[in-house]
Every structure is written in C-alpha cells, then in structure tokens.
C-alpha cells in the first residue's frame, strides 16, 4: 500500500494521518496488555507506577508478587486445578470432536446441517445461558439426587462441551484438503479402519487436531462463568481466583498471575500460527 506516484498533496497528508490513526488503534489494542507486565514487578502494593519505577531505580522493582504466588496455597491449588480441568476437558473434547469431524466431512452423512448446528451450539449460545442451564441440570440431573455441581466431573464435562465446537470446526477445516484416495489405497492394501485412522489419517490431520485441542484448552483455561456457578471452593481455577481477587482483596499478585498468563498466551499463539502455516504448506496453499 505504498503511496502511488500520482498522489496529490491532500492524499499525501491523508496517507500519513491514516497511518497515525492506525498506530493509535494498535496502541489501544496492545498497551492495556503490556502495561500489566512492568506493574507486576512493582515493589509497592499499588496498581500504578511509583516514582521509583519511573526513574528506573532498582528499589522500585521486586519479585515479591511472584513469591506471593509460590507461597500462597490458594493460588497454587488453583493453578493445579486449571491444568487438571483444562487437560481433562481437552482430552474429552478432542477425542469426541475429531471422530465426529471425520463423520461430518463425509459427503453422504444424512442431516448434515442439522447435526452441525447441534454440535456447534455450545459455541453459539451465550455463556451465561449455557452456564445457567448446565448449573440447573447438573445440580439434579434427570431429577436425581446425584449432583454434579461442586465436583471436578461436573466442571470437566461442562468445559468439554464448550470446547468441542472448536475441535469440530478446526478438524473439519483440515479435512477439506484431505485426499480420500489415501484411505481407499490403504484399505485396498489390507489395512483395517483402526490402522488407517492412526497411520494414515491422523498424521495428516494432526495440525488441525492440535490447534483444535489448543482452542479447547484455552476455552477451559480461560472460562470463569461456568466455574463461578458450578465449582465449589475445592475446584477454584486461576480465572476464578482472579475474579475473587478483583472483587475482594485486590493485590498486585493478580498482576503477576496476569503476566504469567500473557506469557502462556504468547506461547499458544505462536504454536497455533506455526501449525496453521504448516497445514497450509501441506495443502499447497502459500502466500
């Protein structure tokens, strides 16, 4: 989008003004996230830059809030919970979602649109409604006394349900470029369907499966509405603990946790990007 040589003076001014506007919008997008990182090293229990910090004195900075996480039983417990729930929900969502995507990408599946609509509905329904509905139902499934609220199983099932649409969508998208003749070839060579799945299909769609799994993991890892309604004190996750922190006892420990989460999301973003590029390369799409 370089400035064309025939551009007049007004166009020249506009060109730079436009770039400035864009820079301001990017600033708006990214600064709120970056501002947290230096503040998490604050030596004082404030949510703002102290004079010491602004003059870059070493005394203005400290790792005390990070130590706070390590020494705090509740935070450690919530970190453990987030990973337990996240990984369990991801495994469930990925297993169900991948197999379903194989079925959905077959041309001869009856009622395809209806099935697709049902399967991605957890993504469509606003979270507050899903959470409310699941809470009502899980507190007494089918009128029984077997409550799933305040259990790990309940939270994991709910998160798995919320994560499956992402797996279904990414894996179905990967399967669009999948050459069906490979299946025919391997089955004519005597492979049974389990072998075909693990030796032929899986290696090719793996990038899609992994990025779907990452989406499902992030959905669970970042989810707080279901946890608010469904989880007891025992099942508190990181976002739930942050929620409590913001509402009740606000301390820069939250900023330290937030910084760690930003690092995690950077890693996830990089992974997804690499997978997407690999997938496009495999399918011969380049840019």
């Amino acid at each position: 989008m370089a400035l064309p040589s025939y551009a007049g003076p007004i166009e020249r001014v506009w060109y730079y003004a436009y770039r400035l506007i864009c820079a301001a919008i990017f600033f708006f997008l990214i600064v709120p996230i970056l501002v947290i990182i230096p503040l998490s090293f604050n030596a004082e229990p404030y949510f703002t830059f102290t004079p010491e910090m602004l003059s870059f004195k070493a005394s203005g900075y400290s790792l005390r809030w990070y130590q706070d996480i390590v020494n705090n039983e509740q935070w450690l417990h919530s970190i453990k919970n987030s990973f337990i729930i996240g990984i369990a929900a991801t495994l469930l969502a990925t297993a169900f979602g991948t197999v379903a995507a194989l079925g959905l990408s077959r041309a001869d599946l009856p009622f395809k649109r209806l099935l697709m609509a049902v399967l991605i509905s957890p993504m469509i329904v606003p979270l507050i409604i899903s959470a409310a509905a699941m809470f009502f139902f899980y507190s007494a499934p089918f009128g029984s006394d077997f409550a799933l609220t305040h259990t790990y199983a309940g939270v994991i099932l709910a998160h798995a349900a919320l994560g499956t649409p992402f797996v279904v969508i990414t894996v179905t998208a990967t399967l669009v470029g999948f050459d069906k003749n490979l299946i025919r070839a391997s089955s004519s060579l005597g492979a049974d369907s389990v072998t075909i799945f693990f030796k032929v299909i899986m290696p090719l769609i793996l990038p899609g499966v992994i990025s779907g799994a990452l989406f499902a993991f992030v959905t669970s890892f970042d989810e707080v509405v279901v946890v608010l309604f469904m989880a007891g004190f025992e099942q508190r996750t990181i976002p739930r603990q942050m929620w409590a922190g913001i509402r009740e006892q606000i301390s820069p420990t939250i900023l330290a946790v937030a910084t760690l989460l930003i690092c995690l999301s950077t890693v996830l973003l990089a992974t997804i990007e690499l997978l997407r590029r690999r997938n496009e390369r495999l399918r011969g799409v380049t840019y």
Binding site: F28, A100, T164
Partner: protein, 421 residues
Amino acid sequence: MAQMTDTAGPVMTTADGTPLKQALARATRRSKIRAFLLVAPLLLFILVTFIIPIFDMLSRSVSNPEVQEAIPETAALLADWDGQGLPSEDVFASMAKELSKKENRREIGRMAARLNFEDSGFRSLLNKTQRRIDRVKEGPYKDALIAIDKDWGETRVWKIIQLMSPPTTLSYYLNALDRTYDQDGNVVMQPDWKQIYVQLFLKTIYVSLGVTVACLILAYPISYLLATLPPSRGNLLLILVLLPFWTSLLVRTTSWIVLLQTNGVINDTLVWLGVISDENRITMIYNMTGTVIAMTHILMPFMVLPLYSVMKTISPSYLRAARSLGANPLVAFVRVYMPQTVPGVGAGSILVFILAIGYYITPALVGGQDGQLISNFIAYHMQKSLNWGLAAALGTILLAGVLAMYWLYDRIVGIDNMKLG
C-alpha cells in the same frame, strides 16, 4: 424402459451374484450409517451435557409445581372458586389441615419461597401460620386462620394462591417483561418501582449496538491496513490483534481496571501532565463508560478477523481502475472498495453484537451500579435471590434473541464460514 432392460439383458451382478443395483444401495446405506456412527458419540455427549440442560432450563421457566406439591387438596378446591369474596369454609379447612402436616414442611417452605416471588408478604404469612396452626383444634377454620393473620381475610392472597396452583405458569415470563397478574388474574404492568427488565433489555441492546459500532469504527482502518500491507509486515501487525484475542479475558479486564481507576495509570498520567488537577480525577470505571471501553477492547479482535479475511480477497486493481477512470480517492474508496467489504462488516458486526449481548464477566467487574447488563441479573437471580424460574425466563428470552441473530448471520454469511482467526 428400465424393466425392459432387466428382462432383455443379463442382470449385472457383483462377484458373489447379487445384482449391482442392490449391492450399491447396500454399500451407500452402510457408508451413511458408518458416517453417522462416527458423529454419534459426540452427538450423544452434547445432547446429555448441553442440549438437555438447555431444554431443562426452558421447562424450568414455565414449571410451577410448588403449590401443587405442598397443598394439593386445597389447590384442587381452589380451582373451583369463582374469585369473589373469600373461598368457602372447606377451602380454609383443607388449608389449615395441609399447613399443619409435619411431613410437608419442605414442600411448604418451597411454596412460601415461590409465592414470595409473586408477593413479598407470603413467606412471613405462611411461616407465622405454620407456627401457630397447631393451636387451632376445631373449626370454623376461616375465623381461626384470619385470627392468626388478617391477610387470610384478603381476596388478593387467595387469588394469588389460586393463580399459582396450576403446574405450569407464564408468570416468570410476565415478570421478565415487567408484567404481573392483578387481583382478577388480568395481565397488568408491574408497579413503577418494580419495572426494571424491559429497561434492562433495551439497555443491553443499546450497549451492544454501541460496542459493535465502536468496534467497527476502530477495526475497519486497521483491517484495511493489515490487508493491504505486504504479507511479511501485515502478519507481524496481525500479532497485535491476535495477542489480545488469545489473552485471558480476566487479564484484559484487570488491565482496564489498572488503567482506568481513579488512582490508575491514565489518571496519574493526566495529573502528571497537568491536564487535570489531583482533586478532579476522572471517574472512568465502575460505571457504563468502563464497561463500554473494556468490552470494545475485548471484542475488537472478533471484528478485525472477519473484516481482514474479507478484505484480503479484494483485489487492489479495482481501486486502481476506479482511479484511472477519474474517481477521486474518496469516491473510489466509498463506491468501489467499501461495498465489497459488506460481507465482512456484516459477519463481524453480528458476531460482536451477539457476544456483547450475553456478556457477563466484564460488566460485573468494571460496571459498578449502572453498568450492569441483563446477564448480570440472570446471575443475580441464580445466586442471590434464588428465583431460578425468573433467571430461566430471562435466559430464554435472551437465547431467543441470540438465535434470531444467528439465523440472520446464517442468511447473510453462512454459519460454515465462521472464521476463528
């Protein structure tokens, strides 16, 4: 014609002798079943963990078993009452009998809670009556009950019990739309001080529209920049959009609290710059402003990504052609480029609007008193007031709205074109 070929020529068969047509039909059927069997486990999983709960919520929004379960005989007798004056002695007698049953305690407690949603005097009325009912040994029960609490002598009280007797009710929906039943069972508006939900729905829609427009205005220029820059630099800038997208919601909400609060970074900077004095710090958070700013920031990537993917497919030569035909840059952009981005604008706007309308976390944390939206009240009725029926009714209305939006989205862009970035 087909029959002629059948009789005339030899029937084509597979190796084991079945006619080819039959074998093909069987193979297609098997393949269909196999495809369905692959989808079946997830379908079952989603049905049990998600779809059934949603329908459970729908049924909860009309379900009304409490009065029936607590005082079944009185409810049956009341059904025949004409609603004039007071019910007959029989009704009072059966009410007294059923309220004195000890094994009914739990049901009566639930009924008291249920009736209290309709009229806030019921809990104390029923508790008081239950405590003193044992002293009443014999009739006339009408006078005895009225002696316990004079409310029993009011037509209105009996009328509400009669209205709440059927096992299903629309009263939660009426409440969700600021309406209620009057003495005679007609639908009327709630008293002024209780009219909140219609206002709240409207406010939620306005805020969502505002956030959508703000997102569009901010996202359009940068999407255009991203789509027209050379890929290497464009992808680098795209990270600035994707990083917020992937960052935890709670983190982004926290950072807005850090930035906007009275002793926060922005106010400190403004004071330091001398723009405002230390006493006149601006209140930007715990009100509607905070909610709108934070929601715009959080939802903007959902606008940029569909816009970007549409803009990337638009060839720059159209703009050049328009320019070479004599259009000035503005006309060329507005009349040639912008119409081509309409699918992206539609997709992004509907996506952001739908996400905004069901937003809970951000308004709850940065919204303060006046920044609360409909979802905050759903949560309030679930956790605090425990009026689950009303929460379900509000949720159902919201869900209906969102599904209507999705139907629109499907018509405009197609659900299958959903981009995740």
